[in-house]
Structures are given as structure tokens and as C-alpha cells.
Symmetry: C2
Subunit: 322 residues, 2 copies
DNA sequence: GTGAAAGCGCTAACAC
DNA sequence: GTGTTAGCGCTTTCAC
């Protein structure tokens, strides 16, 4: 390459990085040769020398969950705009895999974006000291070097409860999310507050997928609620399916709500009442927190607002069961 | 590190890689020091030296599509078992982004897994010469250095048609997938054969998502089919939603089929008749083809069988519309 | 069985 | 403005 252009390797580097001025003549020769050979600097050598890979690692509990896929679709293009890559790891909801994936990624990348981590706070703090930079999505971590982007689940659930209460609902069943999910805790905190205001809330363990919702729907019904509040939309879809099988009509016999607002939610008759979360925005913001690392104390968490989306799956109760 | 253990860096390397025998005494000192410092070899340096990153790049058109998320969940653990990483890129169905992503990944990784590529065959061949190794999923490429893993969509669609024909269906509407999708071509090839055997098939452009299916369902109905054959399950779910809105009963008024067998398909009443594709197996096989690169001529494509899954969304036609 | 040293490809510091 | 050189951290000769 340098030989073809008859210049030193340093000159090639200067032309390609634009770090120092090079005479027009040489610069052209270098560019011609580079184009001719389809030459690109070896990334490994660049990383070794600079210690920076311009890559951010993204760790998610489950890529098949549309929520995280969307977060990724927010983060990746935002990063690409500045010439950064994203490297994704799926942990299958396993806290141990999560920790290992983050640690290992940390050796390659300049920063890690940890989405809805299931690991303990202790290990999370450990990670903070090991990784070059860390931003956590959907989990509050009090640590000077950990940035956080938080969706306001508490506010969303509060709005959902207010909506149901205003329709006249008094008895709800809440289908809990995965264990150790911070976002589940936020939702439940809001439910406790709502319960203090006269709403009767039964909670049952469930999960985060449609099969989970399908499985527990009948049990939920056993508690005679007027509304079933699912951890997220995907779970709610499973609930709706099961209710249909059971001959229970929504919202006539029981109301159902979700959370997140995935594409199917608007379509599935009668339309799922949910809380819209700007998922791509979450991804973009998380990337930005990582990119502007050091531009200020990261102790403040970025909060992302949500919006109630009322559709056909909620209605006043009390028409009674058939 | 080497200083702490009072040995040369070469000895450290030999202990850690296990390349050459080292006396028990030294080996223990090295291991202790490594554990104490939580030492790990710098990956960039290893890559620079060896030219191998033990990383495979996976390029998919859309991560939000459960299909590709599942393929990934097949490939990643299989690769991890051998100490390999996967690096994922989402191209948003854009052939240009796809080419760039694969090319750029190729500089980092030891091989690229290109899933359902939308780019032209010409560019695909170009890629083959640029990349260290290439396996293509769901696309037939005749090139000596390109391995292929193909799902037998043709066979699946043939079975689906046979099933519908045996129920007595004579007029179908097929909702086409994304342009340039090889798998769509395979399905259509099977449909043409079926058409030659007396099945009347109307094809209309659609896409690969639930909103796509929702959008075109009414148009499909306009062709007065007794069955609607969707490109995939996700599309079919959109169709089912729209039909419900329109007061059209499945399978009484019209039968509906999907393809792929995603988790929701089994749940959604009345249960979606579809073709089950072993998605994780596809991912695993693709990884294996990449890993055993050079272990033989890659000109033969690996074919993955599929299986018809009959559920409630298909039934004999002819009860007529209400 | 062990250490010293070369060199992977690149960029920054240092001559000229 | 340009070339020469050192050195990023590792593994692999090559000597001993």
C-alpha cells in the first residue's frame, strides 16, 4: 500500500486519518492507491494502539422480546451516525450469563449498555469498576460512574390505575414480570399506592412472554377481578388468547391492559389499552449517555416519559359475567 | 503480571494458552498472579497477532422479527460453546446497509452469517471474495466459497397447499413477503406448481409484519378466496386481527395460514395453521457450516426440513359468508 | 523448560 | 511536509 503510493506508512496514516496536513500531490497518490487496493486500516491494530474500539456492547435479557429489539433499533443507528458499532449479547434472562457477557464485552468495547439487568445490585456495582463505561437501562444504580436511563414505569402504571379506577374498576389482578426486574418493582410500587386509595389488587407471578400470560390467565380469573393488568403487552396478548378460548369476552366480562405498546397491540381486536413507551428513544438516549460519558456527573438518571394509550380492551365493569 | 509472578511474558503466555508445557511450580505462580490481578490477555493484541478474532458476524434484515431473533438464539450458544462470540447487525431490510454491514464486519470477524439477504446476487458474490468466510441463510448462492443453509420453504408451502386442497379449497390469496426475499420466491414457486394442479392462486404484495397483514387483509378478501395464505405467522396475525374487525370468522368464512410457527401462533384463537421451521436449528447449523469451513466443498447447501402444523385456522370452505 | 527478542499493523513522537 | 522509529500487548521463534 505504502509501496504502491511510494510514500511512508506514516504518510498513509496521516492522509487516511486526516490528523496532519499532507501535500495535495502525496495525498492524491495515497488515496488512489487505497482505492485501488480497497485498503482499510486493520481495526485490531488501531484498537491495540489507541485502546479504543469505537464499539459499544449492548446486553439484553431477551432479543426475541420486541421491547429490546426496538431499544436496539434506537441505539444502533444513533451510534452508527458517529461511526460507532454496537455489539449485542442475549443473556436469556440469566443473571450469571448477564454478568459474564458484560465483563467479557468490556474487554472489547469502550462502553456497555446494560438493558433491564437481572443481576444483583452488588454485582452491578462490581461491573461498574471493571468496565470502561457503563450505562444501565431500566434499573436505578447509585454509583458515580454508572449512568442510567429509566422509563417512568411508576408514572405509567399510576395512569393505568387511574384510568381503570375512573371506569369504575375496584378489583384488579396484576401479572408480575420476571423476578429481579426493576421495572416490575416500579409497577408494583405504583400498584401499592393505588391499593392505598381503595383499589383492590391481587398479584400473581407470571413472566414476560405470551405463553406466560396464556398460562396464568385462568388463575387470574379465579380471583374474580374486573380487570387484568399484565406486566407487558406480550403477556397481555397471551391473556387475551386464553380468555377467548375460555369464552370470556373482553372488555365485557373483564378488562385487560398491557404495557410498552408493541405493534400488535394496536391491531389485536378490540385493541389493547396499554402504556406507550418510546423504545427507540430509550436506546438513543442510552447511547448518548455513553457517548457523553464524563461530560458531567452521571449520578442523575435520565427519565423517559410514557403515555397512556386507551383502546378497546378496557371498559366499565359490572355488566357481569354471562 | 509477569513481574508479579517473576516469570517472562512468554511463560505467562504458555501457561494461559497451554501451548507448551511449563513446570508445575511456575505454572502455579502464573495462575495465582493472574487470578490475583484478574488478568486477561488483551483481545486486540491477540487478534492483531493471530489474525483471528474467534468472532462471527451475523447480519439480519430485522431483529424485531421473531424469526431472526430465534436464529440468533440458535447460533450464539452454539458458538459460545467453542469460545466464539457473535456480533449482530440489523439492516432494516435495506440491501445497501446489508452490504456495508457485512463488509465492515468482515474486517473484524472470522466469518459472516448472512441471514435472508436482500442484496443482489452480484453483490453477494462480491462479498464472497471480500470476506474471510461466508455462510448464507435462506438464499441459494452458487459460489465455491459460500456455504448455504436453506429452509425447505418449497416443501413447506407444498404441504400447506396439499392440506388446503384436501380440505376442499380451490381459490387462495397469497400475501407476498418482502421484495428480493429468496424464501418468498420459494413459496411462490410451490404455489405455481399447486396452481398447475387446479388451485386458483391470486398473489398480492404485502410484506413481513403484522401491520402489513392488517393493511392488506381487506384487499385479499376482495378476491373472494376460501383461504388466505400469509407470507409468515407475523403477517397472518395481522390478517386475523383485521378479519375480526371486519366481522369475518376464521375458519368459518375463510381459512388463514402462516409460516414459521412463532410462539403466538399456537395461542391465538383458533390457533394458526402454519409450517413449523426449526429456527434455532437453522442458526446452529449455519454456525457449524462456518466453523467447519474448509472441511470440504461448501458447494452443497444444507437443507432444513419443515413440518406442517395444522391448527384451528383452517377448515373446509363452502359454509359460505354470512 | 525458560527467557530474550522479533514482529503482527498501526499511529504518535521525533528528526530533518 | 515527510520519513524514520518506537511501541501498543501479545505469541512464537530462537537460543540456551
Amino acid at each position: 500500500m505504502a509501496r504502491l503510493a511510494q510514500v511512508s506508512t506514516a504518510t498513509v496514516s496521516r492522509v487516511l486519518t486526516g490528523a496532519k496536513p499532507v501535500s495535495a500531490d502525496l495525498a492524491q497518490r495515497v488515496r488512489d492507491a487505497a482505492a485501488h487496493l480497497d485498503y482499510r486500516p486493520n481495526p485490531a491494530a488501531q484498537v491495540l494502539l489507541s485502546g479504543r474500539s469505537h464499539t459499544v456492547g449492548v446486553v439484553v435479557p431477551d432479543l426475541a422480546n420486541p421491547y429490546f429489539a426496538e431499544v436496539l433499533k434506537g441505539a444502533t443507528p444513533a451510534a452508527a451516525e458517529r461511526g460507532w458499532r454496537t455489539l449485542v449479547a442475549d443473556t436469556d434472562e440469566d443473571p450469571e450469563v448477564e454478568y459474564r457477557a458484560a465483563t467479557e464485552l468490556g474487554r472489547w468495547v469502550d462502553g456497555v449498555m446494560l438493558c433491564s439487568p437481572r443481576m444483583s445490585t452488588l454485582r452491578l456495582r462490581e461491573l461498574a469498576t471493571k468496565l470502561p463505561a457503563l450505562v444501565v437501562v431500566n434499573r436505578l444504580v447509585r454509583h458515580p460512574s454508572v449512568a442510567a436511563v429509566l422509563v417512568d414505569y411508576h408514572q405509567g402504571m399510576t395512569q393505568l390505575c387511574a384510568h381503570l379506577a375512573s371506569l369504575g374498576h375496584r378489583r384488579l389482578v396484576y401479572l408480575q414480570g420476571p423476578p429481579h426486574a426493576w421495572s416490575d418493582g416500579q409497577r408494583r410500587r405504583a400498584l401499592r399506592t393505588a391499593a392505598g386509595r381503595g383499589l383492590d389488587v391481587v398479584q400473581i407471578p407470571c413472566g414476560s412472554t405470551a405463553p406466560d400470560g396464556h398460562r396464568v390467565a385462568e388463575e387470574a380469573l379465579g380471583h374474580k377481578p374486573t380487570a387484568i393488568v399484565a406486566f407487558n403487552d406480550y403477556v397481555a396478548l397471551g391473556v387475551l388468547s386464553r380468555l377467548t378460548e375460555l369464552g370470556v369476552t373482553v372488555p365485557h366480562d373483564v378488562s385487560v391492559t398491557g404495557f410498552d405498546d408493541i405493534p400488535l397491540s394496536a391491531l389485536t381486536p378490540p385493541g389493547l389499552t396499554t402504556v406507550a413507551v418510546p423504545k427507540r428513544t430509550v436506546g438513543r438516549l442510552a447511547w448518548e449517555r455513553l457517548a457523553t460519558e464524563g461530560a458531567g456527573p452521571s449520578t442523575t438518571a435520565t427519565s423517559v416519559p410514557v403515555e397512556l394509550a386507551v383502546r378497546g380492551s378496557t371498559a366499565p365493569p359490572g355488566q357481569g359475567r354471562r
